[in-house]
Subunit: 569 residues, 2 copies
């Protein structure tokens, strides 16, 4: 039985669904329409084109075998008919047809469908401020934007760039401007950290410090109130606290699902936008599917609807839709919210819930922070990795893991391993024994992920009690009040420079000698233990606990975390 | 209640169990004994010391904070008593004591225990050949071996090295000799591939070719029959097929668990050696634990006992034992058999069962092979990765994944993600939708792991039917018989050189033009489709199927696999 499939939108999910369907039913026909003439491009590659990592914008629109994915390509290679500059203006569900408008001449017509796919994507969130349409203000949206931004930089027209929003796109664009082109780059973020809600303040601060070393300026807790220009071209961004010069402004304040067309057709749409679909990616009309950036999926930890606009989601969901259009029963159960972003020589990544989102979702949770080498400590190319695990207290269930590490694949590999089992409600013990393939060039014998779970285990059992670098900052800031006793339990040579800098506040007893020097440690105030990464100070904590000290605080991540976080000790 | 723990063996599991226990019960005492004076070293680092990657052998015996892990260290820092040069000669279970011999003077005495840990490790498998004790013949066993081997090389005494065994240690040592020192290096392996049973012949051959480019010679299917020397020093290795000059010989023919002590004490030991333990790492004597290289654990896919001597296992199992010694109920359920090995600029890794081991364990399974970029195809630092998935036909259960990729962390990251869920009996669909964190510097929108599962899905559904590079080799070898029609379905420019080289056997129709050239394709013989990696040829297969061609074979991995495998096309 031959059928006709219509796909509205041809960037990521649309083409995937269309091509998968055609391979399963070569005898059926597919018409894919798009209001733009730009189709099937890798939008997530735009920051890398702007930075120059990708040399030609056409690479974002070609296959891995270098063919341009244009309508002719889809016709010849995939057997899919594409109509560009064709806007879907209405879905007539009763008669199973889509009203379309020819963007060249405004003529309207209808395309009949047996089954329909809504793949209308998302649009950048606008600030709705005067000046937002000035020349030089861009949304990182499609290859045309990319070309315009890079042309401006490479012509030397951009001395100052201001980026609004410290999420994925904003940070990637900040790196592109500052790293490759040496543009004076500022990021204005309305919340008080980068990647808000996705990572803890501690991890966010570590990444922020690294980006600052790369030349990016951050302004947190500031709201853009105006964008100003001269002769139609942007010159300044005004926040509620300052004015920043700007030859180029990037608005990266998130995206909004394009679900109006679905809503107007009476399909179920979430209150805050986004087509609602079931696990087969089907809307409440059995003949209509949706997915990708215009749809809402289920979060597998919270059980709540979530909007997760990522090219990877579009591709995986697109295949599910393609299969189901051909009579299959493929499922997409939901997401655990994995992410990764490269920031200069570092990366931030995570999966599941952060402590903030876990608490917000009603979990009684704690988080622990660990710093360790990402492979055998004797292997030359090792680097420090910081991981944080969020755990539900009563059940020991792991709700999420986030991390900060090098820009290579070590961090994202750990995150993906946790993500793989997250929907199965793993406990700490599952991660403690997680079988990480071992060889010194790739892992430590006790991999950092195993150690992280062990730390969480010890924390929940009350034998490793501590604070992260942010907690240490708070204690250190009050050092002149003498409320705490700061004890560096590394060897003398490691502690010496801190003793010298802070003779009144910094004390040193190597952990192995603690039992011989107990009388030097006060019992009437909290003892704050510091070593390189938190491992020896944990041993010291066990020893002091054993000798009756009542208030011992271990700085998790130790001096490595303190330095990355930027505490001035 | 204070107790006394005795630990026999102090390399990996022993120290881990001892230290974990002491942290949980600082008031109890631990005595750890070892017949050697070398303790707590990273044996898996030896090849990297020999190669020079690790500059000082002491680094294998120090902590990440550069303290030597000697008996004094264990006493001061960990609170553990260590007796070196002390050999356990008998376990007297009835009286809960261990008979020990002082290796200096031969005196015997007893050490009482409340609970005992047997961590006696494994010994290299000997060939039992004359000449095996000649100077210059080594087992890669402890830091002393490492120092001896490297000293020999660095003094220029080694022009030719022969390595017996093409498993992990053998291959790592081959790289160390050939890569860093330019020694003429040969590997003799009794089976017909490297990493036998662990990876498929196709993956093994790809890695072998890469090592051959690095200067390593391989002799497969050969058995060493004698080791010969002059003046007490090795000079030759004689196999059943040839004689190889050798100034240095490494025997890397596997290891054997040291479980005799346990067996003599009446503890359950596997027929082929290895202490049998339950999921709490307890032997059949409730007061005695064992783990690491001297023990046998359960394979979670086959359900069978398995011997997996890895430093990572020893560490994770050691912690479980330490917890349980202190009254805990930590579990170690078993293993899925993950591994990774770096080979020059490449790596081999895997988890679960290979097709060979799956078939051997009674599964009716197939495997599929995929080559794809390890990140966005437009991102500059991308590299090709080859993955193979082993799937049970009837249930669609994923039994294992193995791969060949760069020497960085991309491959091991994918393997670890699969390993994380392997014991939960994932199906193809679980991997198809596996949530790999996405950003172009780290993954493709459709990650290679998702694509691999999609390929397996299409293969099981009969719509992608093909062979890997080894299967192509067989077909190509018979090309002069004219049994097959070889069709390159890439663009003309890509196919040109092959047409020129093989004008009689190689044909070219770009996939997008197949419908216009159907009459050029014979229907009376198998059509073998080749493209760059197998994606376009799959599209071509769908098109030919649709037009009634009955015998179409897609070369999975395409020209990329053919080249890596080394077929001369």
């Amino acid at each position: 039985m031959s059928q006709h499939i219509v796909v509205i939108g041809s960037v990521a999910l649309g083409p995937k669904a269309a091509c998968r369907f055609k391979r399963l039913e070569p005898g059926s026909t597919v018409t894919m329409i798009d209001q733009s003439s730009l189709i099937s491009y890798g939008g997530c590659g735009i920051p890398y084109y702007v930075s120059g990592d990708v040399s030609d914008a056409r690479e974002l629109c070609t296959t891995s075998f270098h063919m341009v994915r244009d309508p002719q390509f889809f016709k010849d290679v995939k057997g899919v008919d594409v109509q560009i500059l064709t806007k879907a203006t209405r879905i007539d569900r009763e008669n199973k047809r889509v009203e379309v408008e020819n963007m060249n001449n405004g003529e309207k017509s209808f395309i009949d469908y047996d089954q329909l796919v809504i793949a209308t994507g998302a649009s950048p969130r606008k600030l709705n401020l005067p000046g937002e349409d000035l020349k030089g203000v861009s949304y990182v949206c499609n290859p045309d934007d990319a070309t315009r931004i890079r042309d401006g930089i490479s012509k030397g027209e951009v001395g100052n760039a201001v980026i609004v929003g410290a999420g994925f796109i904003g940070l990637e664009m900040a790196e592109a401007f500052a790293d490759m082109w040496g543009v004076e780059t500022s990021v204005v973020e309305i919340t008080d950290q980068i990647m808000p809600r996705l990572v803890s303040p501690a991890l966010a601060t570590m990444a922020q410090k690294h980006m600052e070393e790369g030349g990016v300026n951050f302004y947190f807790g500031e709201k853009v109130v105006a964008i100003e220009g001269e002769d139609g071209k942007v010159t300044r961004v005004v926040t509620d606290k300052r004015t920043l010069d700007a030859d180029s402004v990037i608005i990266a304040a998130g995206v909004i699902p394009n679900s109006d067309l679905a809503k107007e057709a009476g399909l179920e749409v979430h209150d805050r936008g986004g087509v609602i679909v079931d696990e087969f990616m089907r809307t409440n009309d059995a003949a209509i599917y949706s997915g990708g950036d215009c749809a809402i999926v289920k979060h597998l930890i919270t059980g709540q609807p979530v909007f997760l606009p990522l090219g990877s989601m579009a591709n995986r969901q697109g295949r599910v839709i393609g299969t189901n259009l051909a009579g299959g029963d493929a499922r997409f159960d939901g997401v655990v919210g994995s992410f990764v972003v490269k920031l200069f020589e570092s990366s931030l990544a995570g999966t599941g819930l952060s402590l903030e989102t876990a608490t917000g979702a009603g979990f009684d949770a704690i988080s622990v922070l660990l710093i360790q080498m990402d492979r055998a400590h004797f292997y030359p190319s090792k680097e420090l990795m910081t991981l944080e695990m969020v755990v539900e207290k009563e059940t020991r269930r792991v709700l999420g893991v986030q991390g900060y590490g090098s820009a290579k694949d070590a961090l994202v590999g750990r995150i993906n391993s946790v993500a793989a089992i997250l929907k199965n409600k793993p406990t700490i013990d599952d991660i403690s024994n997680m079988e990480m393939a071992y060889s010194p060039p790739f892992a430590a014998a006790m991999d950092i992920l195993n150690s992280l779970a062990n730390l969480a285990d010890n924390a929940l059992n009350g034998i490793n009690r501590g604070v992260g670098p942010d907690g240490f900052q708070e204690l250190w800031d009050k050092r002149e009040q003498g409320a705490c006793f700061f004890l560096d339990c590394r060897e003398e040579a490691d502690a010496a420079e801190y003793i010298k800098r802070n003779p009144d506040y910094w004390h040193n007893i190597p952990q192995g000698q603690i039992y011989q020097h107990l009388e030097e440690i006060p019992k009437d105030k909290p003892v704050v233990l510091v070593c390189n990464t938190g491992a020896r100070s944990y041993e010291a904590q066990v020893m002091l606990d054993d000798r009756g000290f009542k208030d011992v605080i271990n700085v998790q991540g130790g001096m490595a975390a303190i330095k990355k976080y930027g505490v001035d000790v």
